[in-house]
Structures are given as structure tokens and as C-alpha cells.
């Protein structure tokens, strides 16, 4: 079976991204069954050639999985004619990962923190909260359909 994931790794200065040594891009369909493979591919390329602690690897895997699930389920509503784009800019000390969907976007400021005692029994609403807690910086584009997650290597 042909993999539906389209991976491109460019090991040269990335155009328009100062100081970026390697650019990794991945395009995947809006299918949650592709998430695990996409996470493994992007994580492997983000950490290649660097000594990474188990915790850095773990955090990268979790936030990638979260961002891809959000993009596929909420952004693209699992529509198979829509795609999710991953762009990882790899610097010597920082990894910047952008995950972009084709949805209308959302207001990240409107998402409540799900840790109040009366919310603990809720089964959803922890994705963005976890991302914010596990990386060193989070940014969104104006439309709200692209998240940038910044993770220091050490």
C-alpha cells in the first residue's frame, strides 16, 4: 500500500527563514489513522543529528499528535479533500513546528483552561492546554488555522 504521506526534507538554508539549517515538510490527508505515522516521521527528522532527551522526544510527539488531531478533527472536519501541512524549521537550539489546516480557524483565546475541579470529569478540552504546557512558545496566525509550536532542544 502506498503511504499517503508526502514528506520533503531539505537540508539547506530554508528560504525566508533566517538561520534555519533544515526544513522538513509533510502533507497528510485528514485521516486520524495517519497521525501516528506522521508524528514518528516528523519527530525522527526533527531530532536527527541532535542528542535529544527522552522528555524532549516525548513532548514533541505529544504536541504533534495534539496539533494534528485538532487540525484533522476540528479544522478540516475529517474532510478527505482537505489536507494538513506540517512545516518544521530546525535550528541548532530550537525546533519550530507549524501545523496548518484548511479550516476557517478558531480563536485560541476563547478556549478555557480545563483544570477546574468541576471540569476534571469532562472527557474533552485538554488539547490546546497540553500544547501550551509542553512547549516553550505557541503562536497562531491571524486566521487561527495555523499553530506554531516552539520547542527548545535543551
Amino acid at each position: 500500500m502506498t503511504s499517503p504521506l508526502r514528506l520533503c526534507v531539505r537540508r539547506s538554508p530554508a528560504p525566508g527563514a533566517e538561520g534555519v539549517a533544515t526544513l522538513v515538510t509533510l502533507r497528510l490527508p485528514s485521516d486520524i489513522d495517519c497521525i501516528e505515522e506522521a508524528v514518528e516521521l516528523v519527530t525522527r527528522h526533527c531530532l536527527a543529528g541532535h542528542s535529544a532527551t527522552r522528555t524532549i522526544r516525548f513532548r514533541l510527539q505529544v504536541v504533534l499528535s495534539e496539533a494534528l488531531a485538532n487540525a484533522i478533527l476540528r479544522g478540516n472536519q475529517e474532510s478527505l479533500d482537505k489536507w494538513v501541512e506540517v512545516r518544521a524549521e530546525l535550528l541548532s537550539d530550537v525546533i519550530r513546528v507549524y501545523v496548518t489546516d484548511e479550516g476557517p480557524g478558531f480563536d485560541p483565546g476563547a478556549i478555557p483552561e480545563p483544570i477546574q475541579p468541576d471540569q476534571l470529569d469532562e472527557s474533552g478540552g485538554r488539547g490546546l492546554f497540553l500544547i501550551r504546557k509542553l512547549v516553550d512558545g505557541v503562536q497562531f496566525n491571524e486566521q487561527g488555522n495555523s499553530i506554531c509550536m516552539i520547542l527548545r532542544r535543551h
Binding site: I32, D33, I35, E36, R54, T55, F58, R59, Q61, V62, S65, E66, A69, L73, P114, I115, P117, L120, D121, E122, S123, G124, G125, R126, G127, F129, L130, K133, L134
Partner: protein, 111 residues
Amino acid sequence: MGFSQTKDQSGVAVLQVEGQLIVGNRQELKDLVQAALERGERRILIDFSRTGYIDSSGLGALVSISKRIRESGGELRLSGLNEDLRSLFELTKLDTLFAIADTPQQALASF
């Protein structure tokens, strides 16, 4: 990525998460627990000694499972969380919702 299911000699249903517990397989775990409840199992242990990572959907599934077991008059224990996995429960305060043991043996002894 999958689950293995065994029964302890004292009758506890033990589910082991092998690989990830994420949006793509959370329903499978919920179905396994539901099937165990329908068989009359009331003491259930979910072990994470062989788990890589869990996402928020996986955590949400565990919350749903916990509620379902409670409503059935059963008990749930979790075990085998490494430092990184445990941090997810602490960040989300879910460590206050679950009975978590370091090892499966400790969890089994606590029923």
C-alpha cells in the same frame, strides 16, 4: 499500537496499552473496557509500562472509562506511568481523579 488483555489470578482484568493511546485508538480501549464490564468484570487495571505517549483524546478516553466503571460499581487502577506520562496527568490535574500505582503489582495489591 494496540492493547493486550489478561486476567490476574485474583480475577482483575488487566489491559496493557502497547504503543500510543491517542485519538486513533482510544475507542478500541473504551470498547475493551465496556466488553469487560458486560462480562461482569468489576476490577480493572490499565497498565502503561509499554506505552510511548498519550494525547488529550487518550486522557479523555480514560476519564470516560473511569466514569463508566464507577457507574457500574467497579474500580479502576492505573499503573506503569513513567515520569513523562505521569507529567501529563499532573499538568491536567487528572492525577487527582485516578488511583495511580507505580507498578502493576502494587496496583493489583491495592484492589
